[in-house]
Amino acid sequence: MILQTLAFYLFAAVLLASAVMVIASRNPVHSVLFLILAFFNAAALFVLIGAEFLAMILVVVYVGAVAVLFLFVVMMLDINLTELRQGFLQYLPVGALIGLVLVIELIMVLGGWQLSPELAAMAQTPTAAMSEYSNTAQLGQVLYTRYAFLFQGAGIVLLIAMMGAIVLTLRHRDVKRQKIARQVATKPGDTIEIRKIRPGEGV
């Protein structure tokens, strides 16, 4: 148990530190790399509470797709961060005020948190221990049975999105393609012409 607690504090500390670095670092590429580190640590936190499927999805989707996309964009755009930062102090009071409001709201929501009596009773009813089933299998079981229709429907939506991207952007330009057979069959005489040039005269 102590090991888990230690691990939690380690991951949480790294997560918070890298999150701060995302907005504090001078180089946007470093920002994205810190973001990836934050994602990894959040995934580790998910593993600690036994949500391994969510952890894997976080890594695959956010690190694998979203962060890499960010990296691409950041590297392609020529952003001058010092210019962007100039108004920082000016906006600080407003930002701090909004942050304060959010914190108060959070305290109010969490302070007024109550569990209904039925829920307390439900917590008493025995369920199988967490170790007896994996949440990946559980998700799969409802996704492919009860929600099969929606799952397939979402698949079609993605197919349409893919078609749309292709329809709107793909252009068949006249690309010069490599024809290996012709290359191999070429004889020296087809491409090279040998001429005799006498001294003192042009071609």
Binding site: Q141, V142, T145, R146, Y147, A148, F149, L150, Q152, G153, A154, I156, V157, L159, I160, A161, M163, G164, I166, V167, L168, T169
Partner: protein, 492 residues
């Protein structure tokens, strides 16, 4: 129930058929490249015909643990959607050949959009509602920007996409509120949970308002209509024709199902919203169209007005009102397809023209087309005995019977204003100085569609049976508890 049963698949057969057929057409298109576009359009129309048979012979009931529902109402609306989608494809054949839109993705996108509309119409859960809505919208965004080299088309697509995403966000926010305060997303469970609307928390009402706002965007009701004129003007004409017909039916059907089903008990709350939307849409539809010179923009305002009249029936909240809406939608499809067919025929020297003044003297250069266009315009104005009159008549009758006299009076007055700009088009065609003639021939498919739509609009009053019976069965299958009737009784 946690297992998939065969009966689930049977209930969802039309949706499954469209999904599988759409993917098959996509594969066919990929392997034949753009050579087989005409073939794929033909096959897509065939797919719609088969889907129509499946819809009307299907097994009724709920499926997938209550995620979707199939009933007479759904079958009626799906049939209308199929007619709209199929005929738009037929009409677009000539256009896509001429205007360099001959890419196989277009019919495939229409098939997938239709699939999304099917899911919307048969949604019985907030989650399936959202999936259906996104499926439809995403396909439509792409269709709007389909002519990617045209600045106006891409602008329309981008505008539609951004505003549509905002609307989806509002809808999702509302759905999350409703889920948070009731603990369920299923329409059946929501209806049981909300009961007759007494003793419900404010959170649910806030959620309902957001959901209604999101859906009002999709039907382009005022004040969520801003995108409509720009998108209608910018998108390629067959796509605009499609926008103004099939997705309207789907969104209206979805709005009816959501408001009368799970939120049936909150009638008093949503009636105010629908009332306001209806009044604002009717007024803006009537007055906004007057100053338009572009026929596509004019049709956009006209469609906003039509949505207003449709919402009058919903504000009544009775089975009679839904009956009126069903009849209205059936006649609206016929008029809409016909009018857009005529707009697609407006070509001069191989180019599309879109100004109302371009129609001048059409009665002399192409009397048939002018007569058909005049029929559609008179019908849209609601002049008896044309089809459009019946839709308005039943909707207003339901409003009067539900005690909504204000709404009915505003409706009649705005119809009179609307008649001005519809009949102005007829005047331009018949009495104005003739300009250059439009290109002949109009095209075989297009003239067939215009002819059939004109015949339906003109002769609807002779044989109203199938539409009226279908609408009646559809409205009764919803099993509305008649919040409106109780309300009216209280008023008297």
């Amino acid at each position: 129930m946690n297992e998939l049963a065969l009966s689930d698949l049977q209930t969802a057969l039309p949706e499954l058929w469209l999904a599988v057929a759409g993917m098959a057409l996509l594969m066919l298109g990929v392997f034949t490249s753009n050579r087989a576009t005409r073939l794929i359009v033909g096959l897509a129309i065939l797919v719609f015909i088969v889907a129509g048979v499946l819809v009307n012979t299907g097994r009724a009931g709920t499926a997938f643990d209550g995620l979707i529902i199939d009933d007479t109402f759904g079958a009626f609306m799906k049939t209308l959607i199929l007619i709209g989608s199929g005929l738009t494809l037929v009409m677009s054949l000539g256009y896509i050949r001429r205007e360099g839109m001959e890419r196989f993705e277009f019919p495939v996108l229409i098939v997938f959009a239709t699939l999304g509309m099917f899911v919307m119409v048969s949604a019985n859960d907030l989650m399936s509602l959202y999936i259906g809505l996104e499926m439809q919208s995403l396909a439509l965004y792409v269709c709007a920007a389909f002519q990617r080299d045209s600045l106006r088309s891409t602008e329309a697509g981008l505008k539609y996409f951004v505003l549509g995403a905002v609307a989806s966000g509002m809808l999702l926010y509302g759905a999350s509120m409703v889920y948070g305060f009731t603990g369920t997303t299923s329409f059946t469970a929501l209806a049981a949970e909300l009961g007759n609307g007494s003793d419900i928390s404010l959170g649910v009402v806030v959620g309902l308002v957001f959901i209604a706002a999101g859906l009002a965007f999709k039907v382009s009701a005022v004040p969520f209509h801003m995108w409509t004129p720009d998108v209608y003007e910018g998108a390629p004409s067959p796509v605009t024709a499609f926008f103004s017909i099939a997705p309207k039916v789907a969104a209206v059907a979805l709005l009816i199902r959501v408001l009368t089903g799970p939120f049936g008990g909150l009638f008093a709350e949503w009636q105010q919203i629908v009332f306001l939307l209806a009044v604002a849409s009717m007024l803006l539809g009537a007055f906004g169209a007057i100053a338009q010179t572009n026929i596509k923009r004019l049709m956009a305002y006209s469609s906003i007005g039509h949505v207003g009249y449709i919402l009058v029936g919903l504000a009544a909240g009775t089975a009679e009102g839904i009956n009126g809406i069903a009849i209205y939608l059936a006649t609206y499809i016929a008029m809409g397809i016909g009018a857009w067919g005529c707009i697609l025929a407006m070509r001069r020297q191989q180019r599309m023209v879109e100004d109302i003044s371009d129609l001048a003297g059409l009665s002399r250069s192409n009397p048939g087309l002018a007569a058909a266009f005049a029929i559609f315009m008179f019908s849209m104005a609601g002049i008896p005995p044309l089809a459009g009159f019946f839709g308005k008549f039943y909707v207003f009758l339901a409003a009067v019977n539900a005690g909504l006299y204000t709404l009915a009076v505003i409706g009649v007055l705005t119809s009179a204003v609307g008649a001005f700009y519809y009949i102005r088009i007829v005047k331009v065609m018949y009495f104005d100085e003739a300009g250059d003639a439009f290109d002949r021939p109009v095209g075989r498919e297009l003239s067939w569609v215009i002819g059939i739509a004109a015949a339906f609009t003109l002769l609807f009053f002779v044989y109203t049976g199938p539409v009226l019976d279908g609408a009646d069965a559809a409205s009764r299958s919803l099993g509305i508890v008649a919040g409106g009737e109780a309300q009216t009784a209280a008023l008297e």
